[in-house]
Point group: C2
């Protein structure tokens, strides 16, 4: 049953040898890895204007130099990540780069930060996309949380089906969005050039503005750079690319950078020439589209693809999170289960954990995740800064041929990223302080986990330990609840192994029951010693474990091993289990976890 | 840790021999078993007026004859249940009476109906009480569900502490409520007699009313009789009474009947003389109290104790549900776990299940359980009718000395209960139809459970089966993941039992790993046969179970028993388990539940 449902949802299992077929080409990679970055065009320019409007509409011309700054940062980041891809062709992005060049703890800060960030990516973008949809259909607004959860489940299942399949499904909406914005920007620029847009809608560049300050400009710049989240995804996901993976990844990265630059500057330019003022109810992109086309088909096409890409931006998280988790798990900083490939060769545990964690965030924040955005941006710029600083050190240390321009690129990137990070802390501290709490905690957990894995390895390794004790004999204890076929079956099994002693134990709640049981037993199994225990508190576990302890202590003196052989009848149908006392499970886990006792369970299968 | 918290909440465990001390005297029994019945005075009279107002305020005088009818029904029920208590001194009420006299299925209908009803009692009365509290403090209104859940948890813990302790805690509020209403009724009647209440507030009895019909009168009667729910609780709870239990139970029942009659008729009389008109926002009792005292201390005292008793009414469910469940479980119609006494000698499983089920209802209905009230009333009157019909048949069959008056009492009770039940179906079908669906389902489940228990009993009984097969030899299979201390330990254990064959099995994901492993093994354990399996789909369970199946089939031919000996390392701290692959658990449950294989788990305790 479960297997069938699973197969229907995610498809037939793939052999490990089929891994190569699950790798993706550049066109599809661009679609699934850049949706996060490209979607930020839908809100990045708006963030700049929202800061500038605090001074006045006259300040809007500053959006042009600020956008130029963002483009400069984007170029630096893209160039830098291109260098990272070639330098670390097995993926890992900020985590691997920081760890290798700056040390373990900076690496863990970058890795932990990104790990949390991808969860935020999924929660924030699915919530934003859901909001865009329910704004169009207000009756659905009460079901925001449910709709968002359905989208997360959809993306989770899609990703469990495998990278190629999700890439095929997601390529269309991403390219449609790019196409829609290209048409919008093209028509808009044409209108401006042909003079269809009145000149008086915008203040000319250079107009003096009263009240403008460096602080506000930097703040606008930091807000605008939130459009750059998602840039690092490709460097994490190199292993998903077709060979030659680094070359393909680098080309995809350049392509994404170019698209992002064109769309971002196009939207900023149109907003400036149209004199768009940010409004609470209507997005900047929507205003530009309406200004350009009126409320016709193109307008709705742009709105629709925008909503879609906001949801699909979450998919970047699904591509990058499991691969980052693999890198952390390989270094034993997170549980090993993240290393296991699922039926469809994806790292299914990572995908499922990501889905669950973002559903948790969506439920906890009632799908109102806007105030998580600054946190999310800081969570990206911290690893940006660390990884570029790491690259700086790398060039300084290794000094390969032609390292100076590379060093300059990374230094520039590191500086700007650092400034942006600081701007977030200075201007939005109330929304981002929590990262200062949870990052150290995450790093601490990483270390605890690694310490545990290493301790286990040490203890299991054959070279390290005292010589093993010989087992000189065996004592078997059989807890018996009555005189039935199950018990009979178990006793026969115990006898067949010829241990040095077999003891049957019965726990009774009344003195008379006890006596009666002893008499009957004497007739039924005269050759097996029976011990009856009286329970004052109606507990079976209590007296039984006390007895087992006594026997075990004595056995230890003679180097005997104690085995508790548990008779267990197995009902024919699963639901029947709730009709039966599960005390054997309790006995088993208690003895196994607290004591050094072997537990053998002898099944007796019921036929009806 | 868990043990300490548990002990703090519910107290130290009690020995089975201390059971007698947990029995309660009449004063306390009255408090905990009649809170449901007494609390219905707070809404019963109002229900009558709400039906009559549909005709007009002039019809209010009919509340007097209707109340007389309800009192008559109450008398018949009390007399009848008094007879049931003496006839069935071990408790069980409607279930036992109907089963014994009418047959198994009517018994199950009565029992199932009451079982569900006690859950409704808890949900409905806690919700109503919470509502009364949050009406006084409107800021709390948004937290209705949470507050109601806290009350349910409080009552659950209180009842887990044991019957005597909950009786001691709950006696005060119940008697305070009775005292408050006595003062209210006393002062009210005094005012009426001294002529302080104007004569023109009420239409004289016998005033002709246009539009009144038998249907409306019967409907008002049915609504009023919802005040009689809870009357059967005492007959279910006889085992909780001090000896002589039946005598004490019967006296408590009479006392409750008398109190209920006085309070009910007092409130109806005052409402009539004061000419109270039911309002949506202010309850009838509240109007009477304000009319009598104004808004002084007495008014708030009455309101407060009323809110309290509405919540405590839930406690009747806690007293009666576990005992009814015991009766059903003794007959094997519900899981045996309901027979187990907990640490404090209460039937804790019943108490916990009741708490969980009512929390579920409260959450599902957002603590707005008013529309469950008719369902709840029908769920009481169905067993009323069945049990009294059962008593009728009992007298007819047995004809003991002086049976005629007893027969008349039960016949009257059965007839009126039947009429009330029918009235609910006729006048409120839309709210009570669901009982016609779920009662047959519950009865069906009861039968399925009993059938299963009987089938299990048949299969386990030693007399019924074919002679047992001798086990002629043992094969042990040890799944090995590597060459470590855990495996070493397990192999030593297997060897110490001298089976006919030991096979170590390794599942590998790559051909090279496989070869390397085989070579190393040859050096490490040359005397133990190693089988390596290749897994195409990265699953350990798949290849392993296939191999075990093959071995098991071959072993069966020679009457050999197969044991899978699983090496398991036990981490020092519980949370460490999530860091390790739990595949041994998966292997264990698969082989145990699907195959006839003995599973032995050999623990290896890590020291750090």
């Amino acid at each position: 049953m479960f297997t069938n449902i699973k197969r229907l949802l995610i498809g037939r299992p793939l052999k490990s040898a089929e891994l190569g077929e699950q790798k993706i080409n550049k066109t599809k990679a661009l679609a699934i890895l850049s949706s996060d970055a490209l979607s930020s065009v839908a809100y990045g320019p708006e963030q700049i204007l929202i800061v500038l409007i605090t001074v006045g509409a006259a300040a809007f011309w500053y959006s042009i130099p600020i956008a130029a700054g963002v483009l400069f940062l984007l170029t630096a980041l893209i160039m830098s990540y291109r260098q990272i891809i070639y330098a670390y062709p097995h993926g890992g992005g900020a985590y691997v780069v920081s760890k290798t060049n700056l040390g373990v703890n900076p690496g863990l800060v970058a890795g932990g930060s990104l790990l949390v960030d991808y969860i935020l990516t999924v929660a924030v973008s699915v919530s934003a996309g859901t909001d865009a949809i329910t704004s169009a259909f207000p009756t659905l607004h009460d079901y925001n949380v449910e709709i968002a959860i359905v989208f997360v489940i959809f993306l989770t299942v899609l990703n469990l089906r495998g990278v190629t399949e999700s890439a095929s499904v997601l390529a269309y909406p991403v390219y449609l969005f790019v196409l829609a914005l290209f048409i919008l920007i093209g028509v808009g620029i044409f209108n401006i050039l042909t003079g269809d847009v009145p000149q008086d809608l915008h203040a000319p560049i250079g107009t003096p503005v009263a009240g403008i300050s460096l602080f506000i400009l930097l703040r606008a710049f930091a807000s605008g750079s939130s459009a750059l989240t998602g840039v690092e995804a490709i460097s994490n996901a190199i292993p998903n690319f077709k060979d030659p993976a680094p070359v393909n990844a680098a080309r995809t990265l350049m392509m994404m950078g170019a698209l992002l630059a064109i769309l971002f500057s196009g939207i900023v330019t149109l907003a400036y020439f149209y004199g768009i003022v940010p409004k609470a109810e209507v997005t900047v992109v929507s205003q530009i589209a309406e200004e350009t086309f009126g409320r016709n088909f193109m307008y709705f096409f742009i709105q629709g693809t925008t909503a879609l890409i906001l949801i699909l931006a979450a998919n970047t998280g699904y591509s990058a999170f499991p691969l980052l988790a693999v890198n952390l798990a390989k270094d034993k900083f997170i549980p090993r289960m993240f290393l296991v490939r699922g039926d469809r060769l994806g790292y299914s545990n990572g995908i499922i954990i990501l889905g669950l964690a973002s559903i948790f965030l969506i439920v906890a924040f009632h799908a109102e995740t806007e105030h998580l955005i600054p946190l999310y941006a800081v969570g990206v710029f911290v690893p940006f800064t660390l990884s570029q600083t790491g690259m700086m050190l790398k060039w300084l240390r290794e000094k390969p041929e032609g390292w100076v321009p590379k060093f300059i690129i990374n230094t520039t990137g590191a500086l700007i990223s650092f400034i942006v990070t600081m701007m977030f802390f200075l201007t939005k501290f109330s929304q981002v302080w929590s990262i200062l709490v949870f990052l150290p905690i995450i790093v601490l957990i990483f270390h605890r986990i690694k310490k545990h894995y290493e301790a286990v390895g040490d203890q299991l390794r054959l070279t390290t330990c005292e010589p093993a004790l010989e087992i000189k004999g065996n004592v078997m204890i059989v807890p018996v609840a009555g005189m039935t076929h199950v018990v009979d079956n178990t006793l026969r099994y115990a006898k067949s192994l010829n241990p040095d002693q077999i003891i049957a134990v019965n726990v009774s709640f009344g003195r008379e029951d006890q006596k009666k049981f002893e008499e009957k037993w004497e007739q039924w199994q005269p050759d097996i010693r029976l011990v009856t225990l009286h329970s004052y508190y109606r507990s079976i576990l209590g007296p039984l474990t006390k007895f087992v302890d006594t026997v075990a202590n004595k056995a230890k003196e003679n180097d005997y091993q104690v085995t508790v052989v548990i008779p267990q009848f197995i009902p024919k149908k699963g639901w029947h289990n709730i009709l039966h006392n599960q005390s054997s499970l309790l006995i088993r886990s208690y003895l196994l976890y607290k004591r050094d006792i072997v537990i053998a369970t002898v099944p007796f299968h019921l036929k009806k």
